[in-house]
Structure formats: structure tokens, C-alpha cells
Symmetry: C3
Subunit: 211 residues, 3 copies
């Protein structure tokens, strides 16, 4: 029970952090406040919403409990107010975002397992929960999704979700699976940022001269 509440708290911190990255991205496109709120919401709950729609798992969390949505709307608007401070908070922000990524990936996998789906599907849904908020943010801002080029973002989601699922299959106690995979995902992301690790890119050109 204790660790469930701890995860819920981390998840809440995660959606708030994601809402703020969404609001900032909207600000870079000079959107109006309505756009800021929509992009904030899509970033914060887009991944989990897509997961539940793919699984046919209704009602959605934020439909059942609209207070989450209210918190996200307020976080988006707050971001507009404190935007000038953002550059001084950049490091804190990256840290919270890394935490959010790890939490989303673990929770996505956990929920899928609890619904009785296979471990492989749980990993896929963990990754979708972790990264698709950012994909929706970038599509709404008419940008190519950053996570397809950014340091290890997607890989962190895969590793975190896989670690959790494997530990659960191995019969590890829930709170231990959770703690280990969260820690692994968070560390990996922070190390990737620190040392600029990245996944090899694939460059395909149909132009004969540039090979």
C-alpha cells in the first residue's frame, strides 16, 4: 500500500513535469493560452491515454477522475507565469522529466500486466506510456518527434519497462521490482544526458551521389 502511494506520487510529479514541457514547447511556437493548455494536456496524459485506448481499457483515468486534468491545466498555465525562471531551473526540470519517463514506463508496464496481458505487450505498453506524450506534443507543434533523435529517450523506456516485467516474472516482490527498474531507468537517462549518449541514427538517401 505504501509503495503504491509512493508510485502514485511519482506519477503525479511526472504528469506535472510533462505538462510543463508541453507548455514550454507550445510557447516556442507562440501559441495562445488555449493552445498551451491543449499541448500541456496531450503531453501529460497522451501516452497513458493511447495505451488504454489500445488495450480497450475504459474508462480512462482522467475521465473517471477529472482532478488530474485540472492539475495539468493549472500546471500548464503556471508554466507561462514562471517561464522566465525556467532557464535557472533547467537542471531540476531535466531531472524531474527523467523521473517522469521512468515512472511512466514502469506504470504502463505494471497496469498492462495487471490487466492480464502478456509480458511482451506489457513492455510495449510501458514504452508507449513513456514516450507517446512527447510524440503528441511534437506533432501538435508541427515538429518531427524529438524522441526519435534525442539521447536514449526511447531506449530508457524499453530498458525500464523490460526490467520491471522481467523482475515481476522472476517473482521479485512488487516494491523491489518497482524500485530497481525506476532507479535503473532514471540513472540511465541522467547518464545519457550527462555523457550525450545516443542511439546510432539511420540515414537513408535516395540520391545516388551521397552514399
Amino acid at each position: 500500500m505504501q509503495d503504491t502511494q509512493f508510485v502514485l506520487l511519482l506519477w503525479f510529479v511526472g504528469i506535472i513535469a510533462e505538462a510543463m514541457t508541453g507548455a514550454l514547447a507550445a510557447g516556442k511556437q507562440r501559441m495562445d493560452l488555449f493552445g498551451v493548455v491543449i499541448v500541456g494536456c496531450a503531453t501529460a496524459i497522451g501516452g497513458g491515454t493511447l495505451r488504454d485506448m489500445l488495450l480497450g481499457n475504459y474508462p480512462l483515468i482522467w475521465v473517471e477522475n477529472w482532478h488530474y486534468l485540472l492539475a495539468i491545466v493549472l500546471a500548464s498555465l503556471l508554466t507561462v507565469v514562471i517561464a522566465p525562471l525556467m532557464r535557472y531551473l533547467a537542471k531540476l526540470f531535466l531531472t524531474i522529466d527523467a523521473l517522469g519517463l521512468a515512472v511512466f514506463s514502469v506504470i504502463g508496464a505494471q497496469k498492462t500486466l495487471l490487466l492480464g496481458f502478456s509480458p511482451a505487450v506489457a513492455v510495449v505498453m510501458g514504452v508507449i506510456t513513456g514516450v507517446f506524450g512527447g510524440v503528441f506534443r511534437d506533432i501538435l507543434c508541427n515538429q518531427m518527434p524529438l524522441i526519435f533523435r534525442k539521447e536514449l529517450y526511447g531506449i530508457v523506456a524499453i530498458v525500464t519497462a523490460s526490467c520491471y516485467v522481467m523482475l515481476q516474472i522472476a517473482g521479485t516482490e512488487p516494491w523491489l521490482s518497482l524500485g530497481i527498474s525506476l532507479w535503473l531507468g532514471f540513472s540511465l537517462r541522467m547518464l545519457a544526458i550527462r555523457f550525450c549518449w545516443s542511439v546510432p541514427t539511420f540515414h537513408y538517401s535516395t540520391d545516388q551521389h551521397h552514399e
Copy 2:
């Protein structure tokens, strides 16, 4: 019964108007007729479809009754034929579009309430029904969604849906709630266009020199 049929008529006018804005947007991107039809359909029924998918409310309206889809396809193709006349009809068109926005927002909220969801969710679904058709249109046309920058579009949806939901909670007769919120939303949008009202925009730059 009478007012239900009146709303259905307004809704039908709304989806036709939205299909036409979709077709025109496709024409600006020089799409072929297939693209025109797809963008027209996504604009006309995208908002309501997303709402019903988020609520898990199946079957979708246009799946149950494909005649709506046929009407939208025909409206999209008709737009191609009468496009040269469009600039003379621009004012009529904006008026119908404003009506469509108000009707979609009210109907979205109404359906959600009837399905037994909370008032807050009804407002959110009214807004999604009102504006997401336009969001899908702009994503398919590879544009940043206009409604995130255009005069009060999103705000009109919020005000209209909120007004309807509050009147319903207050126990107002259905036809009166409907009439008042439709009139409010329509007037607000027309005034916003007339006087170029807009929501403050949020401009965030990570560049140190431009603050």
C-alpha cells in the same frame, strides 16, 4: 422532440460546413481528390469520433449510420466544384462555421452528460468535439493547428460547453439551456471575428539574447 430535431439539423449543417473547410484546406495544399475527401471527413467527424473513442462509446455515429459519411464525402467534392465562388461566400461560410463550433460544443457536452459522466468531463468533451476536427485537419495538412492561434476559437468552445453544463446542473429546461448556450457561443465567435479578439499568446525562447 422538436428541439432535438432542430439540434440534429444544426449538427448536420455543422458537419457539412466543417467538411467544406477541410476540403478548402486540402486544396491549399494541392491535394488530389482522395486527399480532399479524407481531410473533409477528418475535419467534419474527427472531433466527435475522438470524443466517443475517449469515452469508449461504441458504435460510432457514422459507423452506425453511414449516410452521414456519404453526405460529408459529397460536401467535400462539391466544395471542389464551387471553390471559385468561395470568396464571395466567405462571410456566409464564417457564419456557418461559427454556428458549427457552437453546436458541436453543446452536443459534445450533452452526449457526455447523457452517458452519465461528470460535468467537468462533459465540458472537456464539448471542447474536444468542437475543436479537434480542426486540429486533425491541420495535422493532415502538415500545418500547426490554427485553433491554437486563431481568434477565441478554443475559448468559444469552453464557454459554450460550460454554459450548457451549468444551466443543465441548475435544472434549466433542456431546450432553454441549449438555446442560450448556442446563442452565447455563436455571438462570442462572431464578435471575436468582427473585433479581432484573441487570447494572449505565450512566447518562450531559449535564446538568451531575445527576452
Copy 3:
């Protein structure tokens, strides 16, 4: 039974081919390997997934049987390895892609009919299954969807799905409906590529001087 397995084989070839077009498109945008896999998956199963979500038909195929997803991931990664050979295989590739389009359209229509929906909805779902993988691919790559401008792509889906549905209504034996519509769709697409057939485009400009 025999023809069901034949269709399943064609479908499998189709998703593999679509995954490879997705991976190549990601490579043109210089995405990392994670992006390549996500775009490959979205291209291969996006159309069928959207169809099943619109119909409320759960669980999704790849959620029930994750081996399809594994095959798609491997095909996407394999594409990166054999990319240098791609230009020599271009013709084979276009052929498989044409086959995939026809198969997807027929299967989409077939599944919808089997679920008890109306013939009109079956045609629409056949088209969605056939073309929306490509739409998702192009949105994730931040491109305007190619199928809205490419030679007859969408029309082939409409003709193929309509042909299948009409033959089924007419009481034709399943394997014959299937064979005829597949052959028709495949031929039409190959002819369209060979002779550069295309659908008229719609060009709408709000600029008064260019009419």
C-alpha cells in the same frame, strides 16, 4: 481454410513490406534506431489498429499475438542493414507494396463484414486499413501524407474494397471474391505506377491574383 491461410500469408508479407517503407522513410529523416522501429510499427499496423479502434473491436491483433510486432520490429531493423541494396530492389519493393495495399484493403473490408457492419462501413474500413499506415508514417516524419498526392493509392484501396464487398453481397464464393478483388487492386496499382496515372488535384488559393 486453404485460402484463409493464403490470405494470412499475403497479409504477413504486406505488414513486413509496410514496415520496411516506414523504416526507409525514417531513414530519410535521419532518425535513430528507436525512431526507425516506431515508424516501422506505425506504418505496418497503424491502419488495422485504427480500424479496430474505430469499430471498438478489442483486443487488437498485435496485442493478442505479439509475435507480429516482433516480426515488424525485426523487419524495421533489417531494413537499416540492407538499405544500401534497396535501390536495386526498388522494383520488387514497389510490387510487394502494391500487393500489401490490395491485401490490406480486402482484409479490412472482410473483417468489418464478419463483425456484422454494413457494406458501406466495410468499404470505408477497407480504405482506412489500406492507407492509414502510410498516413501515420508521414505524420511521424512531419511530412504531408504522400497518399494524398501519389498515383491512385487511395483510389486503389476504394476500388479493391468495393469490389470485394460487392462480390460478397452478390453471393460469390469467398475465395473467388478475394482472388478477383486482390487481382484487380494489384493490377490497378501496378498500371498506375507504370503509366503515372493520378487523380485530379484540387488547387485552392485565397490569393486573388493566381486563379
